[in-house]
Symmetry: D3
Subunit: 142 residues, 6 copies
């Protein structure tokens, strides 16, 4: 059982705002992150796969397959957009916590796009918002 | 003559769009960066000061003074905003090239906020947009 | 259940010396780190909080609260000091192992300073001494 | 129970090729990594030791001992070589997964070279192949 | 006049060996880097372009053009190969000094592939061999 | 003419204090850095050598020679010490500006320890104090 982690990045913007809250409460909770124009980040995302090393290939998962999934489902969708415009955040505040959980679910739902990972599992998604904070989700509590 | 460089960072969003161009031309020039919602970055800015080492203090410039200037003029202004909303980009596309030149001019105009740097000069502003590209301006051509 | 990690840093010095040991034994155990003048490091500390994502805010913990706690209890206390002068090391050698455990206990004892984390828990403290070694404590064995 | 992690690095080359497979299959599985001349990496390896903090020394393990083991058994053996020439890969494809597991086993077998770690255990080996992917092995499944 | 720097990376192997020298001299000059199997690195290359900011686009050079040139001429050629097999090193030792100069010349010769850089010039190529050493060439002495 | 830069690091402590100044003035100038116990840093030093690529070896300077000089003259002297105890700071405040200039002079004075660099010159010393500030000296004004 070896863990493989692959790292990708994308640039996006977000505005932290919960329409169910009053303006004053939004300011209190989100501070400057609530300004109407939003702001943005370079997000670094790490996908960790846990599985046995295949005796024939010496690999946990074929990186070409994993890169393809990440490109199609994560980077094409989130790179160079405003997260508030994404369907996943139609009724969810696009905090990095919520984005991390979303990316985990996206990868898990597309797991069969990775034929070489049929004996492996998605272990964790880690999402860096800045060089000073990051988030991790392992599916615990789903 | 010693060069001192100090590093700061802020998060902002921008949309690359030149209103003087047709929609098709904007798409051609800026690609996905032209999407109406914009996207964002963690910008890392480095300010380089060149000057003699003060014999009394052993310093090129008092870092408390430099940090104060950066806080008041750069971080308070650009952190957690949409650059397109900033007055400096009212008639200028907020590319990182243009932002780098703007920051250089802001620092140079506020140089007298740094009494300890009276024998020193602003050497360069360096602005990282992502971990894969950065921009530098030394005032050449001003 | 999402893990949030926040990163801070401070600069401090230490001398590794156990007064209960003979001089020769101190030299044997600590080598050059035992020299009377000490030496120092830029310490990077990461605090990991584990908890549910709050449905109202989309957050695990309010970062303003966490930053306040870190500022008051960790940075104000340990930044730009000699660790051997700190009360916590009056009878304890200030190795980075011991400092890591101390910081964990300080944060846990002040947990109620984080009202937004009432459903969350301190998961881990990670302390980097140099770019080549770091330490982690999760409270195991307390 | 504190975790200590120490980081080392070495430069090596490898060619991904399984002699039990046909040429076309090797190309399919390994792509450009199967080219006869091979290619190479700067590998960064992290060794994590878990153990109690020794009351006398304030340490989990004596770093001089750990560095000696790493130098003798890992760096002397793998630095500046072609991994395909190493005896450990005589009948094993030198993927980074396999190299990670090998390094774990080498360190565990030489554990008695670390007298100061007699109450500690090898927790994990982490091996970075590039800044975009890394592997971890904890002995699970041995 | 703004400087734009773009960063790319590739993995390659090399053996340092000058066929014009005796075996003993090769060993003396190159040490372990002369071993017949070679070794390898993750090379990070930075291309710096100096030019005016285009008033219409706000850019020094179109990054899509620059990325295309780098992909076609540098990455396709050097990524995942043994540098000793490259035609550029048929009669030249593939030290990183020589590779840095070669990459500079390749980019300069293909400069017309960058229509948006017609008012700009290649300023510098910087090539990192490891996290501890790098090389720079500005064309001085050509 | 190629520039080669090699990176080293050491850990040291310092107290910023000018005995020629009053206590109040020392506090004003140096703030918390003036506390009697001092504090410390992991210093990263980069030595840049400029020279032609030797036609026989393909190198600017033999790294074994440069590493030897750095080990003997810089690391043995400054690693794991209190800079205030060093003879070079007997009558000089050990700011990182002053340390940077000192290291430049040490390397230049020992240049003949580098026979392979007889056609090359010391271009620059760069010294990082923290991940947020660094200093550079090129001998300008000597």
């Amino acid at each position: 059982m070896v863990h493989l982690t692959r790292r990708y990045w994308f640039s996006a913007s977000h505005r932290l705002h919960n329409p169910a809250l009053e303006a004053a409460e939004n300011t209190l909770v989100y501070g400057k992150c609530n300004n109407p124009g939003g702001h943005g980040h370079n997000y670094h995302v790490e996908i960790t796969v846990a599985g046995p090393v295949d005796a024939r290939t010496g690999m946990v998962v074929d990186l070409t397959e994993l890169d393809g999934l990440a490109e199609r489902e994560i980077l094409n969708r989130f790179d160079q957009i405003n997260l508030n415009d994404d369907q996943g955040f139609a009724s969810l505040v696009p905090t990095t916590e919520n984005l991390c959980v979303q990316i985990y679910h996206i990868v898990r739902e597309r797991w069969t796009d990775l034929p070489s990972a049929r004996n492996a599992r998605l272990e964790r998604v880690r999402l860096e918002e800045t060089s000073s904070n990051f988030f991790e989700y392992t599916g615990e509590g789903d």
